[in-house]
Symmetry: C2
Subunit: 200 residues, 2 copies
Amino acid sequence: MGRFPTVQLKLPDWIDTSVPHGGVVLHSVEARMEFVIRLARRNVAEGTGGPFAAAIFLRDSGELLAPGVNCVVPAMCSVAHAEMVAIMVAQQIAKTFDLGGEGLSACELVTSTEPCAMCLGAIPWSGVRRLVCGARREDAERHGFDEGERAASWVTGLTRRGIDVVQDVRREEAADVLRAYQESGGLAYNGRLGARTEKP
Amino acid sequence: MGRFPTVQLKLPDWIDTSVPHGGVVLHSVEARMEFVIRLARRNVAEGTGGPFAAAIFLRDSGELLAPGVNCVVPAMCSVAHAEMVAIMVAQQIAKTFDLGGEGLSACELVTSTEPCAMCLGAIPWSGVRRLVCGARREDAERHGFDEGERAASWVTGLTRRGIDVVQDVRREEAADVLRAYQESGGLAYNGRLGARTEKP
């Protein structure tokens, strides 16, 4: 056995019951977003992480490849944002570090809130061909979350790399998850970390 | 058992023999960088990943908390850059998602090459208080690697969040690992992914 621990990221148990046994096939981006928003709400209700969810779908067929939810606190892992979890689980399923590799159907990442700087940086390396976003950065910030330093031209940056971006899909419903979380007194740990140095 | 796989990130077996049993304590950033550069070289020699390594040290005492190496290909995980692995392993050891939390000694991230956009975005969420870099972005790009879209003012961005940045520590030795990797015909998968859309 090694001296350094193996990092293990496991989706919460309730995820299995959220995904019907025959799998999930959703044809519109609105339906895919609705699925992801439901995961975000459930993640808060179950106490298994922050109010963020994501999923990797096959872009053309609409088949769900992998869901992801924020599990930073339970996994003791600041990297475990919903998008990162969805990407990592999908790559384990596809058995490749490149979801855009030859022989694979084009994948898309659907996320309940626009990616933070880390998740945005991860997208080109993941191999996904399309990003679909619900709530905007401004929604996240209004509800106490810190999205980090993203280039103002991030949409153009992804597009130039061959990754299409679709914004504002069910934006209000998606933002409502953040609002409800804040109103319930949920911990916005990113915001706290970002502001740490301003405290005495 | 869940229907979706648990993501597991394990450091290569040879890491254990690289770290003396009593642990590692290195007082200067140069010595810490030398340690990290050695890991990067070894990672290539052992065939366990790309030419990148990192480590989390306790900033003031110089004690090694966790090493990290790039294991994207063997782990089938595009997220598994050296910095991300070091952060995640360190958080498992410290049993917290926040290496800057109360009661913990200040941590620093030492990386053989300046962080790409993803790893840069991950740094504020990790809780580290200092970033120490070897090779520059230009060195990585000259040797075929793609660092992604980072804000030009990324050093200022981190500093504003209370994270000090030290650049060019043993830069030439660190860049030499990238040069040797490229000359040996090593796969620069980030570069390939970034350039994918320009291919026919």
